[in-house]
């Protein structure tokens, strides 16, 4: 997989494929993920993206930050839209009307992927279109003002599952979308973070090389929605890994592999560190009766981690 030197050379050659000047908030995880993902692709890529922060901040007419072909059609359907592009590509190639070798990336936020776009993602994966689906998971609907999604962790404050006097934020645990995608038995599925360029670019390279659908779930920290200082985005990603809140792993042709393990020197950090780092969990530390909930959250992380370890054995 590409070294930093190789990536730098590629960047030199291709130029910045997602230009500056877009309107994402300071410290937004999304552009970091996209710039690295586009750099990881050796072949030219076509991008399809759903409605959400990434699309609205990068394509304000008459400007666009995208220096690769880009299409947005709606909020729930980048997998379906790109499956049409990919089918057209095959049709035109078959008839000798097109001869370039391309790769396809569909993408969306957690809302556009876990929730409203889940069906179209599942359909495209089942049909076997050769495309990488990148989920930019910031654990809520940020574009519309921080509403809960099925990726929002239990206990987090969002505007539609707010922390109030009697309800301490979201009441349900998040959905394990990555596992759902593994269940589709597609050739490549992985989890990674914004904040580990090596892991992310390696996974994108592998995903694009897979002869079929692939899926990468990227935890993409959002300073605005989570409530932390914009300069800490990369550290946030790493903290999610170090607490095992968001383990990074990959499943290649059904084989599970952990990409980061706590060691004796650097043991698993307590979840409280993660919770304390963000304003969306602040209510848990103001209330006197949150101990039980915090313990439950830790338990859940531990349980998920044990299950993941077993799968990766």
């Amino acid at each position: 997989m590409a070294t930093l030197k190789e990536l730098a050379a590629r960047a030199e050659e291709k130029g910045e494929l997602l230009s500056g000047g877009h309107r994402a908030c300071l410290g937004c995880g999304h552009p970091i993920v996209i710039r690295q993902a586009l750099l990881a692709a050796k072949e030219p890529v076509i991008v399809g993206c759903v409605t959400g922060c990434l699309e609205v901040t990068t394509t304000i007419f008459p400007y666009t930050a995208w220096r690769v072909p880009f299409i947005h059609s709606a909020f729930e359907n980048s997998a379906a839209t790109v499956s049409g592009i990919e089918a057209a590509y095959r049709a035109l190639k078959k008839q000798g009307k097109y001869d370039k070798e391309l790769r396809f990336m569909a993408m969306g936020g957690d809302g556009g992927t876990y929730d409203i776009g889940f069906q179209s993602l599942s359909g495209a994966a089942e049909r076997g279109h050769r495309m990488l689906y990148l989920c930019l998971d910031n654990e809520a609907y940020m574009n519309t003002g921080i509403q809960r999604s099925s990726a929002t962790p239990k206990g987090a404050h969002t505007t539609t599952a707010p922390a109030g006097k009697v309800i301490p934020g979201k009441q349900q645990h998040r959905k394990d979308l990555t596992a759902c995608m593994v269940a589709h038995r597609i050739p490549y599925v992985a989890q990674t973070i914004a904040g580990n360029w090596k892991d992310l670019t390696t996974k994108v390279e592998k995903a694009l090389a897979a002869d079929g659908p692939s899926f990468i779930n990227v935890l993409s920290p959002c300073p605005t929605g989570w409530g932390y200082k914009p300069e800490l985005t990369l550290e946030m990603g790493q903290l999610a890994v170090d607490t095992c809140f968001w383990p990074i792993y990959e499943v290649e042709d059904g084989k599970w592999k952990l990409n980061h393990q706590p060691t004796e020197k650097k043991p698993k950090k307590p979840l409280v560190e993660w919770l304390k780092s963000q304003r969306r969990f602040a209510h848990l530390f103001k209330a006197t009766d949150s101990e039980e909930l915090i313990a439950e959250l830790q338990e859940r992380v531990d349980q998920d981690w044990e299950e993941l370890l077993a799968k990766c054995e």
Binding site: P44, I46, G48, E55, V56, T59, I60, F61, P62, T64, W66, R67, V68, P69, F70, I71, H72, S73, A74, E76, N77, A79, A80, T81, V82, S83, G84, I85, E86, A87, A88, Y89, R90, A91, L92, K94, Q95, Y98, K100, L102, Q119, S120, S122, G123, A124, E126, R127
Partner: protein, 392 residues
């Protein structure tokens, strides 16, 4: 060469036309009564008689989304649906039109739930009348076939998506004698597709579906509206080329014994065929009755309608759907609005009929003419909107 007639249902015919059109991509999802179209077409794909990539999506929303992606990639694209399927596509119909993608869709008219019902009325396509698609209605199997072949050229020249509708079961499953154009001639007539843009053009990357704020949206919409007006010119040109080549003449509207008619009805779709029989019978008996058949509903040919109906005394608009808005069906509202142009205009009433596939027979249409003649004589209409053939 002698003409070769074959017996085919509407759905078989639409599928045959799709085979001849040989689109690059078809993305579709089954729904009664349109299912057969993609089913037959899927067999063509399986048998290798077309070059098409067939994408059997998990929903109509995804079918239209995939069509949009494929069309944006510069492919010639088709799909087919009906009723709830069209309703589920609704969001994407606007987007296909806004992105100016010439997607072609045989749509089989079926009513909308609830109550669930699989039979014909026009609620589905009338519900989509403002989505920005060209809409062409068909009276019979032959016309549906001819409309669909023309549709490819119209869509690509207008850079707008197009739906050609057939009345569910009445046309879709009714077998008729029809003439197919030889494959080669269809290929020649529709020509090679030259897309306006393609997202596969990696050497000239650009962004499709950007976000417009208040500073650009209106201009972009205005341009789209203009494209629909432009389609009003393109449609007759294509119809004329078709007529010259294959001998069957078409226009946005069809006048039937209308020039000297005092009372007339305005209909869409298969009902026109039934009405022609009634009109012939009444004419035999000396009644001055006629009909205007609306073939193209979008773009709405209001100039033609006004011209054709200017000397009629009483007009009934027959709607096969209701706006549930308190003033009858959508065709009525639009025709009445168009006729306001005239200083002296016909008295216009509305009959909503055939909802959920309720049969419309000769006697019912005759009863409409009887009503109209009474209105003509007395100058009084009891009701502006009546419901025809319903137990009240």
């Amino acid at each position: 060469m002698g003409k070769k007639f074959v017996a085919k249902t509407g759905n078989e015919t639409m599928a045959e036309a799709m085979r001849q059109i040989n689109p690059d991509v078809v993305a579709a999802y089954p729904i009664t009564p349109a299912t057969e179209i993609v089913q037959i077409f899927a067999q063509f794909v399986a048998d290798g008689v077309v070059n098409t990539e067939f994408v059997a999506t998990e929903s109509e929303h995804s079918a239209m989304s995939a069509c949009i992606g494929a069309a944006a990639a510069g492919a010639r694209v088709m799909t087919s649906t009906s009723s709830q399927g069209l309703a589920l596509m609704w969001e994407m119909l606007y987007i296909a039109a806004g992105l100016r993608l010439p997607i072609v869709m045989p749509e089989v008219n079926r009513t909308l739930s609830s109550p669930i019902n699989i039979h014909c009325d026009h609620s589905d396509t009338m519900g989509a009348r403002d989505v920005g698609w060209i809409q062409i209605f068909s009276e019979n199997v032959q016309e549906a076939y001819d409309n669909l072949i023309q549709a490819v050229v119209i869509a690509e020249e207008a850079k707008l998506p197009i739906m050609v509708t057939t009345d569910g079961f009445i046309i879709s499953h009714g077998m008729e004698s029809m003439e197919m154009i030889p494959d080669k001639e269809v290929t020649d007539f529709i020509g090679e597709y030259k897309p306006a843009y393609s997202v596969l053009d990696v050497d000239n990357p650009f962004t499709v579906g950007a976000i417009d704020f208040t500073d650009y949206y209106f201009e972009h919409k205005r341009a789209q509206i203009e494209a629909m007006s432009e389609a009003k010119k393109i449609i007759p040109q294509v119809q004329q080329r078709f007529g010259e080549r294959f001998g069957r003449k078409y226009a946005a509207i069809e006048e039937y014994r209308l020039s000297d008619a005092e009372v007339a009805i305005l209909v869409l779709g298969s009902t026109a065929g039934t009405a022609k029989v009634v009109i012939d019978e009444l004419r035999e008996k000396g009644h001055p009755v006629g009909m205007l058949k609306l073939r193209v509903f979008r773009p709405f040919p209001f100039e033609e309608i006004v011209r054709a109906l200017s000397s009629v005394k009483v007009l009934a608009v027959l709607d096969r759907s209701d706006g549930v808005a308190g003033i009858g069906g959508p065709v009525f509202s639009e025709v009445r609005s168009a006729m306001y142009e005239l200083d002296i205009r016909p008295r216009i009433v509305n009959y909503v009929y055939g909802l959920g596939g309720r049969n419309i027979d000769l006697a019912l249409i005759q009863s409409v003419f009887t009503d109209l003649e009474k209105i003509a004589k007395t100058g009084k209409a009891e009701k502006m909107v009546s419901y025809l053939g319903v137990r009240e």
